[in-house]
Amino acid sequence: MIKVNKEAMEYKEGITVQDVLNEKKYTFRLITVVVNGKIVPRDEYSSYKINDGDNIDVIHIMSGG
């Protein structure tokens, strides 16, 4: 099990940050991904592998129209 923005999510072997974003439909571009307290650069989203038990925060900047 992993945690994404404090909610439990099933862990699948080999999932990447981008897979998590796709699963959660986090399509907003002004986001920062933090895995276990460490910021993941945007250009690594497709390659950065998530481990079972990881704690992921996907911080969206506020925006609004």
């Binding site: 923005n5 399509t27 910021i39 996907v58 911080i59 969206h60 506020m62 925006s63 129209g65």
Partner: protein
Amino acid sequence: MTANIQEMRMAHKLLARMDYELGKVEKGYTNRTLYINLSDNTIKSKPVTEQMKEIFVGGRGFGLWLLWNAVTGNTKWNDPENEIIISTGPIGGITQYPGAGKSLVVSLSPCGSVMDSNVGGHFGPLLKFAGWDAIEVQGKAENDVIVYIDGNKGYVTIEEAPKEDVDSHLLVEQLTDMYADSEEDKRNIAIVSAGRGAENTLIGMLNFSFYDVKRGVPRLKQAGRGGIGTVFRDKKIKALVVKYAGVKGDSNGPADKQKLINAGIKLHKEIHDLDKLQNRMREVGTAHLTEIMNDYDLLPVMNYKYGSHPDAVKLHSEVFKKYFTQGMPDGCWHGCSMACAKAVDNFTLKTGPYKGQKVCVDAAEYETIAGLGSNCGIFDPEYVIEANFYCDTYGLDTISTGTLIAFIMECYEAGILNKEITGGLDLRFGNAEAAMELIHQMGNGVGFGKIAGLGVHRMKKIFVEEYGADPNFVQDIGMELKGLEYSEYVSKESLAQQGGYALTNKGPQHDEAWLIFMDMVNKQIPTFEDKAEALFYFPMFRTWFGLNGLCKLPWNDIEPADNATTDEPAKVPEHVQNYIDLFNGVTGKNITKEELILQSERVYNFQRIFNLKMGYGTREYDIPPYRSMGPVTVEEYESRAERYDNQLKEIGYDIEGMSTEEKVKALRKYREDQYQKLCDAVYKRRGWTSNGVPTLETVKRLGIDFPDVVELISKHQ
């Protein structure tokens, strides 16, 4: 000038003229305001005092102070004593930093409350360079008038103007042509106008023009919210026109221009390098939000019943991008590289009085797409563009128009309305043809449009009294508060945003706080105290833009590449520092980020007290319709059953065997109770009593303890 325009000009009758000394803007101020009374044709200058600048700063602050001194607690929106005040603010008019051309409009609204509305375009800055920190219009004219301000020759006139059109797209073109000495001179003219719909509804808005040199047409931005266009036409103002030639980089008289340049260089580079990776404002403007809101279940669909729809893909920004002319300098004031004021060129209208004509449409912002589109169950981009055009030229607020049509549609589908009542209009969700016809009826003040144009608040009463509607049902689904229709976000699952909408001064417009992501998605504000802190800081911070003539979009619709590594990325601290540098660079003062908030606190609390003076401003007016807080109907509950079932379990319910109706009732009790607790926490943080009135201690701390303020709030301590 064409023969037709000459004829219009010849028909003008001069009612009054004032010549004035051309002044100079010093550190962002001209230090005088222009007062006009249309009942007796007074035109005079009033001084701006140091106290005004210190306590009210400018923009909305000046508007509120001038209006406070003009009206009593009994003044109604359509009394001659009501005023329309337009002011930019000390930073308004600089050309070095994006988004520095905003005007703020203040008036008593047909909604009942004290209304402020912000808008782009050139009027506010050109008014300032013409010599005036604000224009204050009181009284009512006998016949349609134009107020003309010539900022190079130094005179103001009130002229009867019988022959010009009222609809903005024609009027603005006529007046630009009339007052410009040449094609090149057209860029020096800015016009405020409304339209026929502002005469025939209570949701009239104001158009503020700017001349698009590349396209060779005047463009329109809107002070949309709160019916001030209706006040404008009630006063028989056809237009306010300002002409000023000679805008330069130091026209605003800054104390330290280098500070503005330095801040501007940083932001321009950021926009140049990062906008295409972030929100693509330069390509599609705020239309980028449609698909995001749909993905996050926040897009209003069918009167806010749902948050997404499979057909929403037809309203995505990639669809609208094909209609927006690309590569145009689409800023609504000089120096704005965010350039998000997109337009659809050569659009052929399919309906209405201008059917068959090709027009340039200032379309479409996210709010208009969601309001006129998905919220009405309509997923046709060309309908949205055409409806946008007619709302603009008729002078109708697209947000209020969309939200009230959505309300009507739900009432129609619930059997409260029928074709007999609607005059044959089949106003089911998704019927674009009927919706378009309703907009024309609203514009012309005929048919069911006469009722629709009254707005949701008044329609609730009519539907109960005349059509037998269940008062509880219409109250629950009628998305308005303080008389103002909700803007276009589904706040049901975000307690913080429920407060962000309902605990506002003007009503449920999202310019005070947009906390949905912070609350619902990031889960950064879990406790009541966290939410209260956010509902203190962000409304105060965002109020500041309206004191200074600034657009909020460059604050957080672009962010520095390293923003995520800062302590409080939601505040975008580097941009906050930019704004402090701009203020200090213009005024020569030395404010800090704490003092920035204090400036806003003064005006914000003053506006709250002003609402109290007008009979509002207490807790009972802060309680929103339940549709903004949770599922009203069984079908809404079942559309998010898993989420709602889980919440009931979390709060201790054994939902086994509960019917959906029982679950709706249980969830409602919980959410309404949560909202009351939020009010308690927010009022405490803001320094208000438990009934939502600023305390004596708060007004003293802020320096707004004027005798009439103290007398008023003392009765509520």
